[in-house]
């Protein structure tokens, strides 16, 4: 049992942190909300040059071959600074499944370009059914003359408006869990139309409409009709790493609130000296530290191929609950100023819903946990 990071891991953290401290102050977060692209291409290029975009890709494709634990560290730091942009969708939601399930040709074709910063990717999963499970996937892919044709609508697709490729979860057959196939779709296809959804965080999530989009057979990821395993893989890695991003966010919120509680004086004393404030913050600390070690345990377990469905879903649910609670309580501790546009706190709080609904909301994950509990053979029953 060891909760420490290695020296290498600490180095990864400090270099990501120093890059973001320099390149991504809160003004930049605000600027990106207004920016039509929603990310900084200059910074994207710089991240490619520094190797961040190839961090978890195999060395043969110009990557660094790092594991999920390393990725967790950089994503935690990104969450702390609210780095907006297609890093998560490209690196986590698309490149990890490409590495695991892609054909040798697909890997050769795409991974090097991702590592070089030449390609932005995103995952198109959610649909107007607005459920997180596979029964909600209704976008149809029909095989016609050796080519698939995709028609339907995907919603809340992050950064689809700038994506070079979309990984599209589509239905090739009836069924709830089965009949799912993943397609690699060229973002510039004329059958695609993209519209940015006016979200609270202005975080460039899009509605993408597919009108008879042609996709050749060799653009299927994995096997036709067997996409549910790939989706599960994406949800697991994605839920764990989104939780890491959220952890960075709640840590930043607590830090700024702590600093404020020490400096804001009322009744001739810093408000942080009042037990009413102290106990609220103590409650947050307990929740945040619980989340921190669950995130670390889960990402460690994924890196060691021993993560259970329970652990992943427990961590994401915890992240959802803690992120929301932290935003609300930190706002209250700040008083009226916490409610202003000038304060960075609101930037974090406004992103709570986007994170919560990425890779499964709490209801979705609680149901997974309940199923796990149902099937679990507790040690006590072995003795009865």
């Amino acid at each position: 049992m060891d909760f420490d990071f290695s020296e290498d891991q600490e180095m990864i953290r400090s270099s990501m942190k120093s890059m973001l401290d320099k390149e991504y102050p809160p003004e930049k977060v605000r600027e990106m909300e207004e920016d039509p692209k929603g990310y900084d291409p200059g910074l994207w290029k710089q991240m490619a040059e520094l190797g961040w975009l190839g961090l978890s890709l195999p060395e043969e494709y110009g990557g660094a071959g790092a594991d999920v634990l390393d990725l967790m560290i950089v994503i935690e730091e990104m969450g702390r600074k609210l780095l907006s942009g297609p890093f998560f969708s490209t690196m986590v939601l698309c490149s990890l499944p490409l590495v695991r399930f892609g054909s040798p040709e697909q890997k050769k074709e795409y991974l090097t370009s991702i590592a070089n910063g030449e390609q932005i990717w995103t995952l198109a999963y959610s649909e107007p059914s607005a459920t997180h499970d596979l029964s909600g996937v209704q976008l149809r892919a029909h095989l016609q003359d050796e080519t698939y044709r995709l028609s339907g609508t995907k919603i809340f697709v992050p950064y689809a408006h700038v994506a070079d490729y979309l990984l599209v979860v589509a239905r090739t057959d009836e069924g709830d869990e089965s009949g799912i196939t993943l397609f690699i779709v060229d973002g510039k296809d004329s059958g695609l139309s993209t519209e940015i959804i006016p979200t609270a965080a202005h975080d460039k999530q899009c509605e993408v409409t597919f009108d008879e989009v042609s996709v050749p057979k060799n653009m299927v990821l994995g096997e036709v009709g067997k996409g549910q395993d790939i989706v599960k893989f994406i949800f697991q890695q994605g839920a764990a790493l989104k939780s890491a991003e959220m952890l960075g966010g709640v840590e930043a919120m607590l830090e700024m609130t702590n600093a404020y509680a020490k400096e804001r004086v009322q009744f001739d004393r810093p408000i942080g000296s009042f037990q009413a404030i102290q106990h609220k913050m103590a409650d947050l600390l307990i929740e945040i530290e619980g989340l921190r070690y669950m995130v670390h345990e889960t990402c460690w377990a994924i890196s060691n191929d021993s993560a259970s469905d329970f652990l992943i879903s427990a961590t994401k649910t915890k992240a959802n609950e803690v992120y929301q609670r932290t935003g609300i309580e930190c706002m209250r501790i700040h008083g009226a100023v916490g409610f202003t546009k000038e304060l960075d706190l609101g930037l974090y709080h406004l992103r709570s819903k986007a994170s919560e609904h990425t890779m499964g909301d709490s209801q979705f994950h609680r149901e997974i946990i309940a199923r796990e509990l149902e099937q679990y053979e507790a040690p006590i029953f072995g003795l009865r």
């Binding site: 049992m1 942080g272 106990h279 307990i286 530290e289 619980g290 070690y293 669950m294 609680r366 040690p379």
Partner: protein, 398 residues
């Protein structure tokens, strides 16, 4: 980073499960705080303490020269976690015998005290059972405000005063007593000493305090000119407060692992019950159980992190407070979920012998009626949050 136990810990876990199979009745559940209340439970508790002593597990965390096994913090954690899960009674030798009397004597005790008391505690015998005399009517959270006096007289002390909420006093041979030895000293922290007092001493009166749910673990203990030999002073006179603060470090890692195991067991029992009754198909119940499982996982990693910090030789200043508050939160939520699931049957007296009515051996009723008390014992949650604010958040003094 590594979230696995080593082979040694896993082997120990197996061995403990073998012990449980042999020594505990089938389906045994240990209800919260039920050890000391009734005579037959207490007799069973002590019989298990004796067996744990024979295994060497009772005081495994102590150094070998003092009757321990020199076990690592991780082995000790595994032992306590399993004891909590399987409900192994008698792991503490009253209140504090194993967890702070022994370790404090090792730190501050005289050679004579160590020679007398450490083997007694490690033996698992009645004469090694302790209670702890800290709280008084006017010294609860404000512990330094104690008024029980131990005045030097010739070759000993004369103790007068009263302790209250003294858990297990009626089962204990010894009391680990905090008393004022320098009444004229204006600084409250500088006038307290720790004394070892034989509960059979003339002048000691124990009055039971039965709690509202009918359990007897609290007592009042009165001291009326009780003579205590001078050699029963532990460490330095008037340094009791400081000794307590530093011996707290030893107590810290001991309690929470047991709760981790206990909570896990309660959840497992509940899941088994809802599967049998079909309540598992109720989505609301499913999601509540999921939430309880998440909380139990969160407590586990918090407690492990505390032990990890200790294993690196660091003092966990606020982590045990953090773990206690979170555990109290779990006791509350878990017992409420359990009571909701038991429905009509949640109305049973957990101490009733009538198995016809009690579901899950009354364990959820016991937990539910007792959790408010457990959140007060060992420092209220409010005091714990003050500690978190001071050491975890470094906020200004309130």
């Amino acid at each position: 980073m590594d979230f696995q136990f080593g082979d040694k810990e896993e082997a120990l876990r197996k061995e403990i499960r073998e012990f449980v199979k042999q020594e505990l009745p089938p389906g045994w559940v240990r209800n919260a705080l039920a050890e000391e209340s009734r005579d037959e439970d207490w007799a069973f508790t002590l019989s298990i303490s004796k067996k744990l002593s024979e295994k060497g597990w009772l005081t495994m965390a102590w150094p070998k020269e003092y009757g321990g096994m020199g076990a690592s913090l991780w082995e000790h954690l595994v032992f306590r976690e399993e004891a909590g899960y399987w409900g192994i009674p008698g792991v503490t030798m009253g209140v504090g015998g194993v967890d702070w009397v022994g370790p404090s004597l090792i730190l501050y005790g005289s050679e004579e005290q160590k020679k007398t008391h450490l083997p007694l505690i490690a033996s698992g015998e009645q004469d090694g059972v302790w209670c702890t005399g800290y709280s008084e009517p006017n010294a609860g959270s404000d512990f330094a405000n104690i008024g029980t006096k131990a005045i030097r007289d010739g070759d000993g002390y004369v103790v007068n005063g009263q302790k209250i909420w003294t858990s297990a006093a009626h089962r204990s041979r010894w009391i680990w007593l905090a008393a004022v030895t320098a009444p004229q000293e204006p600084k409250k922290h500088k006038r307290i000493s720790i004394l070892i007092v034989d509960m059979k001493s003339p002048g000691i009166t124990i009055n039971p305090i039965i709690n509202y749910a009918g359990y007897h673990f609290f007592n009042e203990v009165f001291f009326d000119d009780v003579k205590v030999p001078a050699e029963n002073l532990v460490g330095e006179e008037n340094r009791g407060w400081y000794q307590l603060m530093s011996s707290l470090a030893h107590e810290r890692g001991s309690i929470a692992p047991g709760s981790c195991g206990y909570n896990k067991r309660m959840l497992d029992e509940l899941v088994h019950y809802v599967k049998e009754t079909g309540l598992i198909n109720n989505p609301r119940i499913r999601h509540k159980l999921a939430d309880r499982a998440i909380e139990i996982e969160a407590l586990k990693v918090l407690v492990y992190q505390t032990i990890w910090k200790m294993s690196k030789g660091q003092v966990p200043f606020y982590e045990p407070a953090r773990d206690k508050v979170f555990n109290d939160y779990i006791f509350e939520r878990l017992s409420m979920t359990g009571m909701e699931i038991l429905g009509l049957y949640s109305q049973m007296d957990p101490q009733s012998e009538d198995e016809k009515w009690k579901k899950l051996k009354g364990s959820f009723e016991a937990m539910y009626w007792l959790f408010p008390g457990m959140s007060i014992a060992g420092g209220t949650d409010e005091i714990q949050k003050n500690i978190i604010a001071m050491f975890g958040l470094e906020l200004p003094k309130s």
